[in-house]
Amino acid sequence: MEHIVGIDLGTTNSLIAYVDDAGPQVVADSGTGQKTLPSIVSFLPNERVVVGREAGELARTQPLSTIRSVKRFMGLGMGHISPADRKRYRFVDDQEDSASLVRFAIHDRQVTPPEVSAVILRALRERATAALQAEVRKVVITVPAYFNDSQRQATKDAGKLAGLEVIRLLNEPTAAALAYGLHTKEEGLIAVYDFGGGTFDVSILRLHTGIFEVLSTNGNTRLGGDDIDQCIAERFLLAELTEALRNDPQVLNNALRAAEKAKQVLSEQEETVLNLTLPEKGIQISRSLSRQEMEAAVEEIVARTLEPCRQALKDAGLETHDIEEVVLVGGSTRMPLVRQRVGEFFGRTPLTDIDPDEVVALGAAVQADTLSGRRRDMLLLDVVPLSLGIETMGGVMSHLIERNTTIPASVKEMFTTAVDDQTAVAVHVLQGERELVQDCRSLARFSIPIEPKPAGVPRVEVTFMIDANGILNVSATDLRTGRERSLEVKPSYGLTDEEVERLLEESIDFAEEDIEQRLLIEARTEADTVLHATDKALSQNASFLQEGEEEQIAQVVQKVREACAGEDYDLIRDLTEELSQVTTPFAQRIMDSSIQAALGEKQLSDL
């Protein structure tokens, strides 16, 4: 059966997981054994791309061509970029259109956030391909529950660019609940507090005989551990530097990494040393930092997560004491201060049984299992996080679908003309809770084609459908003729279908490199398997070796190991084959003897 895998495309780290007979599990990198892939992508001048820890190393020296936390930029327009981000990266600024999609300027190329994410997705896919020894094409990707339509669409585009079929976008807190539900089979009301590297979500769920019903969700897609790092770096490191150095991307990047490291250490210890050493810039800072000092500095950031919790409870019609279990998700919940504040807010000790870094990927794998048709005992009823509406007269937003409505959700709206012989009606789709259009996020615009008739005569019914991914689809029917009218929807902050196609074509070069990469991974995996079996046989069955055989095998083993360190997959394959051949007689003797032993036993038991 075809595998559908689950992907946690995180701000800081990304993971890929699948379900087998042993349950959901995260795939580790076959080389390093690491389960998390840092969500860092570095673009080299020679058109090569590096992802993960290696890219993290490159960030120290090449901060402008190395993108971290790309998730923060998904589905945004240039107008949403913060001054702090402008210091760290170079963007393609379109003077004519400040509402245009974010594009990084890297070397002489333009790179959109979905393209950067696609690089991460491809790397994860390689991992899963190697682990499953099978092509991986269909995926479930998790997104913050509070992601709006543009951010979701951008994530879907990233999947497409990576050659994947995204069969579901799953909300991260819901994924976590799924992983916990499977784990403990709880029933009742739970709150999931998901504080990650760049985003914060809270969801309130009712668990009911295998149904996970989301009652409400809230959050902030621009609040996470990154902000804590920024705060520590600014307060304790950058404050001591000159204006020019503070704005230097390399200094900034190194200060942020130092802050991140100190934050992590202070989750375990009471005190640490904060270091920032860049001799070429004349910087040499080393100072002690206590947990108490850090907590006082970041207290305000943590406090900002509690208002969404209050709102989510209110929307669910619940009080804190109704919540029976609180689940913590996301790397930022490792901080003792976060655990303490969440515990105080809900009046109970939060659950942390599952590794907060892995729980979302595990939940995504569980959902992938359901979608593949292998499991029917669990069902998610999720909601749309933000109200959807259209612009009406006077720049006012008219709500069509309220936030926290269970998805899929659809609503029909009738449109007609205001003047005679009008040939089109323009529709502007918005998302948000505020009354005025200018305070809401613009999602898309489309125009309904209309046959020229006297004003008010044409009647076109438009269906707004938010699908199970939380993504909007619109369709129109002319009620007079009963005909479907096709609509061209132009996303406000997204790639058009044509752009996705073009980027896909451009990435064919990439794909060829990927095939090479995959062949290499497969060859190494195969070699590993044979090497492992040989080692085991040699240590357990040395008595079956014949004169000189051990030396002969050892020579080939050595050659295979050397080949695996290189990149020539043909050589690795050939040598692996050679190793199989030289060990065949030895393996045959072991097998013969065990068959004889088995037969012997059988004869004994037959007696």
Partner: protein, 222 residues
């Protein structure tokens, strides 16, 4: 809003009463888009209903229809699953909330609550006037910009809290009246009196909801 009585299976052409799965070939069927919500949930067409039974049926329908469980089906089945689930979700959202259910009931009886709903209901006129005056006082106090006038703000906050409690009391009272009205439908006594009482109660509730939102907004900045 009439509910169609016969449906034809898209796969085997069997004709049957509208239902989720074809009784002949078990294929998932697109539900008639104009099916009334009570019928959809297998309930009597009556505004008073058993909320627990409603939730139970909702879970059962979701288990049968949800797109997650039809991902491996044909394009037609996936589309039917999507449309049906959207319909069931909308119906459940309407029926579980007494106010929305009441409005739906009015529409179902050919008496939709129209524009009159935007005017201040006469019974509330005096109360609304008082609350609006207090809200204006809060706006004039500009709490966001004022420092050092904590006493004045505390006074406003106390008044607003009192208003909110008043609103809550009135809302509870209206909820009782609504429930009482629901349970009288279908009995012998004049349905036109019931109809106008239902319209009155729902208009007042809609108005108080908007007012409550304004008062809470005021309280959050005080």
């Amino acid at each position: 809003m009439a509910t169609p009585t016969v449906a034809r299976c898209w796969r085997c052409q069997d004709e049957h009463r509208p239902q989720v799965f074809c009784p002949a070939c078990e294929a998932l069927q697109p539900l008639p888009p104009d099916i009334d919500y009570f019928t959809l949930f297998g309930l009597a067409r009556h505004p008073r209903l058993d909320e627990q039974a409603l939730a139970q049926t909702y879970y059962e329908l979701s288990r049968q229809l949800h797109p997650d469980l039809h991902q491996t089906g044909t394009a037609q089945e996936r589309e039917a699953s999507l449309q049906n689930t959207a319909l069931v979700n909308r119906a459940y959202r309407t029926l579980r909330d007494p106010v929305q259910r009441g409005r739906y009931w009015l529409a179902l009886n050919g008496e939709p609550l129209g524009k009159e709903n935007n005017k201040v209901p006469p019974a509330l006129a005096l109360f609304v006037f008082e609350v609006q005056e207090k809200l204006a006082a809060v706006r004039e106090a500009r709490p966001a910009e004022t420092e050092g006038t904590q006493d004045a703000l505390a006074g406003l906050r106390a008044e607003m809290t009192q208003v909110r409690d008043d609103l809550d009391d009135r809302m509870r009272d209206l909820q009782h009246r609504l429930a009482a009205n629901f349970s009288k439908w279908g009995q012998a006594d004049g349905s036109s009196a019931l109809l106008s009482e239902l319209k009155r109660v729902l208009s007042e509730m809609a108005y108080l909801r908007t007012l409550t939102r304004d008062v809470e907004k005021a309280l959050s900045i005080l």
